[in-house]
Symmetry: C2
Subunit: 344 residues, 2 copies
């Protein structure tokens, strides 16, 4: 398959141009493009250029406000920063809220960023990494679409609800995890369907609530949470904190609102930032140095730290640029040429 | 087997008397007894009277300060409340910090309680429930002893690191989960060993890092995290936040310090409290009412909410008292009679 090398900046320019052509405002376009290019650079295709079609479809369907201006609402005395995305994409809202969150976490030791009314396209690892660059530990979570059944239940009531965490490391990439609270991603079930392969056991139930290994039946039924009742509980917690507590939609409500999982969901997001310096103040030992001892022990015992595959890909693309297939570059050209007419 | 009914108050008096006789101060004894009696009332034997032996052994070994007075340290401007347990039990430290945490969460929207230098005997569900009674959502976590290998690793570097969450419900018991981030508790492996039964696959590895179903080999090796690399990541996060960030011992350090898992560990604990009222302010819908819709849907789909077994047991013991076996009551009498001489 023919391949093309392209620099990060060049890809960024092309993605921004595609988003602008689709009628997305300058600030939103740049902010969304950053995550897409970071996804490609990290070999994380699930957040790469393939997502452009979904973004354009959501614009075309009128389910995102492509020119919304997000705004920050917060009283100085609160440790909660709220950003109203105004129905625009999550990314510019996060970008706007970030410096405020950093300032509040430094001031109070712990602080939270709430994003409301956003069309959610982002990678939580991108966001927790941004906070680790500020020396903060960070938790992030959000609902998605109701496609996961709570353990023991027969109906999809939870989203794949990602849960992410970051811890700063000064000499190397941060400690970062970001995972779905379902056993598998919906895309993986779709891939099995296309390949005509049965699913591994434990991934899904059919519409009657019975275990199934048939991709079609799984898509009509529900996925299962990771780790049995424990993962199910974490998925439920994310509905409560990242949906209900912040006054935004649950995964069920997001799906009801849009009626399809092929558009990007509208909901909110919760980010909690903590200052290890503030938490460790007055105690013996530097928390960042002590964390390195733990990471060394983990790596030394043969285990991998999370996100290492992404970081290896990032090093490669930093050195060599991003590799796209000829059909990917053609697709980018088509999106730039046709704009919203390129998508159904 | 002969059984005895005993009221909560009566059991509480007996447990307090045993702890006082062992040289534990009045405030610490009352606070520890509350959790033990709550464990018995909830049919949660892992935090019930059987734990008295371990508590007395830890006192006898000089590894807890039974007369320590915990004290609260915090500046008014911070959202972090720190309680120094002074080497005493975690429970009185939590009790001291609780009203401050509640006040700060109301003031700032989100706040954290750090307990340092505590001999950890508590049930995190007990603590998150206390916060739900104040109308707060709450996360709690702490390290334990290093007995769990990170996924892919060959050495026990993580604890069974419990992770708990609570959400207030005004008309019924709160939504609460509290689970070990290992597949199984160490006690369950011990029970299999005594019964001469092999372990289920996926619970443990031997000292060489190979999967094993032999309890002896597992006890000499390591337990595995729940949910593969995802649970492993959460266990690691708990070492970072609930150990290193708060300037307290990791599970490895706690085990090194005490040299045995038969005494209670010395480390810290992190509790994060959030005010749903503050987070939802200005948004449509009451978060508590909306959460009930989610809980109804989960229960209606055939799934159980977590902690229901405990709550059912609590209703029964509230109505009928706590049921102990004759040998349990004899054991209590022996502990009261002999004090620290009753334990090795």
């Amino acid at each position: 398959m023919e391949q093309v090398q392209i620099s990060k900046n060049e890809l960024n320019d092309r993605v921004v141009a595609i988003l602008l052509k689709a009628g997305i405002s300058d600030f939103q376009a740049k902010s969304v493009a950053d995550v897409i290019v970071a996804g490609e650079a990290d070999g994380c295709k699930s957040h790469g250029i393939y997502r452009l079609d979904g973004i354009l479809r959501t614009v075309k369907a009128g389910k995102v406000n492509p020119v919304a201006a997000a705004h920050v609402m917060s009283s100085e005395a609160s440790a909660i920063i709220k950003v109203d995305a105004g129905g625009g994409f999550a990314n510019p809202a996060f970008e706007l809220g970030l410096p405020h969150l950093v300032e509040r976490a430094a001031k109070f030791g712990i602080a939270a960023l709430v994003i409301n009314d956003c069309t959610h396209f982002s990678a939580l690892w991108w966001e927790v990494e941004a906070l680790t660059r500020e020396g903060l530990a960070c938790l992030a979570m959000c609902p998605s679409y109701a496609t996961v059944a709570p353990t023991g239940g027969s109906k999809p009531l939870l989203g794949t609800n990602p849960f992410a965490f970051g811890w700063p490391r000064s000499q190397t990439f941060p400690y970062v995890f970001d995972f779905a609270t379902s056993v598998a991603a919906r895309g993986e079930i779709e891939l099995h369907r296309r390949a005509g392969k049965p699913l591994p056991e434990g991934w899904a139930i059919d519409a009657d609530g019975n275990p199934t290994t048939e991709p079609e039946a799984a898509l009509a039924g529900a996925m299962l949470p990771f780790g049995g009742h424990k993962g199910s509980s974490i998925g439920t917690m994310i509905e409560l904190l990242g949906g209900i507590m912040i006054g935004d939609l649950t995964s069920s409500e997001a799906l009801d609102y849009l009626g399809t999982t092929t558009l990007l969901p509208l909901h909110g997001e919760l980010v909690i930032a903590m200052s290890p310096q503030a938490f460790a103040a007055g105690r013996a030992g530097d928390p960042f140095a002590r964390a390195e001892v733990l990471f060394d022990a983990i790596a030394g015992s043969g285990a991998r730290l999370p996100s290492q595959r992404r970081f290896t890909a990032r090093q490669k693309s930093d050195a060599e640029g991003i590799t796209l297939t000829a059909s990917e570059t053609e697709h980018l050209e088509r999106l730039l040429d046709k704009g919203l007419d390129a998508v159904a």
